[in-house]
């Protein structure tokens, strides 16, 4: 695995077109976040999980499962990139390659296999960070960034107060004003479930917001269908791209 000091910069100087500065800055922040100890995984484990996301692209088991009528009909072992618990590797590969066919039963089996719900939420956060930054690079025709050098330290094991069960597979902060240490997670009195989804690991929500603000829109702009977001594409063009990608991924949400 190629390593990159998070102190050195991610840039898009080799891209075929100029890239507005908020995007590489968001990606530098995301890589720094990836390298740091999380709530449930060390920095080394987080970077190893990121490597699994990339390994999933060439994983024959993932390919066979995607082609199968049911992913559960195909047994085997993933083409692992490191030394992580098998259930965590499976989660990283499945979320990266076939998320639309994940089920609550599969999630419960993953938790029963030893990946705690908080650790699972953090895996989701890691996977989606790598998937989106790598997709951006691929879209522009530039090589993916080397994964960052892990930072030392232990996971915080931080659990935000007030998590509620039962709305989704994972516990989330309630849909009201974000409070206390989590007051910065979303603006206003309510937010979308997709922001709450990672709230069991608040730093993953913060990372998501920074990335989304650069790639797409700020939360208050997302809610307002008339907000343009000051982009070269108008809002209808933005939503058309978003809807097409979501439909191809068979995303109901």
């Amino acid at each position: 695995m190629a390593a990159l000091s998070v102190l050195s910069g991610i840039s898009y100087e080799s891209a075929p077109v100029p890239v507005r500065e908020d995007l590489p800055q968001a990606h530098r922040d995301a890589w720094a976040h990836l390298a740091a100890p999380g709530s449930w995984w060390t920095g080394a484990e987080r970077v190893a999980l990121a490597a699994e996301v990339r390994a999933a692209a060439d994983c024959s088991l993932c390919r066979e499962r995607r082609a199968a009528l049911s992913p559960n009909a195909v047994a085997g072992e993933h083409a692992e990139a490191g030394d992580l618990p098998a259930a965590a590797v499976d989660a990283a590969h499945r979320i990266a390659t076939d998320a639309g066919r994940l089920t609550k039963t599969w999630f419960e089996k993953t938790v029963a296999s030893g990946v705690s719900p908080g650790a699972y939420v953090e895996i989701v956060g890691i996977v989606v960070t790598v998937v989106s930054v790598d997709a951006f690079c691929r879209g522009l025709g530039v090589p993916p960034h080397p994964l960052p050098e892990p930072r030392p330290g232990a996971p915080t094991r931080y659990v935000p107060a007030g998590l509620v069960e039962g709305e989704a597979w994972v516990a989330m902060l309630p849909n009201g004003p974000a409070r206390g240490a989590e007051a910065d997670l979303w603006p206003g009195r309510r937010t979308a479930n997709v922001l709450r989804a990672l709230s069991q690991v608040p730093d993953e929500v913060r990372n998501l917001r920074r990335l989304s603000a650069a790639h797409y829109l700020e939360p208050h702009e997302i809610v307002d269908p008339g907000a343009e977001g000051h982009r070269a594409l108008d809002r209808r063009q933005i939503e058309l791209v978003a809807a097409r990608v979501s439909a191809l991924n068979e995303c109901f949400y």
């Binding site: 077109v17 603006p187 978003a242 991924n249 949400y253």
Partner: protein, 117 residues
């Protein structure tokens, strides 16, 4: 659209062609925005599907008819959203004509706070 489709697919030649076409049609800034949005939704769909979240309540109410028309119930992840009641369907029909304006008001009422580091 071709760029979005190519980005989700794994054909690098198709992606190259779609990128060139998007650059010609949208210009450099438009290409960057299109790639940024498409890659953003490669992220968002995995969060939704990976955590089993249901559709947000208000959206569930106003989008019932549209979801039916598009046949979105065929997607496996629809199992994460409970079926709507008759009362909810009726409320959706009543609210839909003013939904756009209501969402604009909600959006404008939110502050613009940024997440901490």
């Amino acid at each position: 659209m071709a760029l979005a489709e190519a980005l989700v697919g794994d054909d690098d030649d198709a992606l190259h062609a779609a990128r060139e076409a998007a650059l010609a049609a949208l210009g450099p800034e438009g290409l960057v925005d299109a790639v940024a949005v498409a890659s953003n939704f490669q992220r968002m769909v995995r969060i939704a599907d990976g955590t089993g979240i249901p559709l947000d309540g208000p959206l569930r109410v106003v989008s019932e008819e549209l979801r039916d028309q598009l046949g979105l119930e065929r997607f496996a992840a629809s199992a994460n959203t409970p079926a709507s009641s008759a009362a909810s369907r009726l409320a959706g029909r009543l609210i839909r004509p003013v939904a756009f304006r209501l969402m604009r008001l909600v959006g404008r009422s939110l502050d613009r706070g940024s997440p901490g580091r």
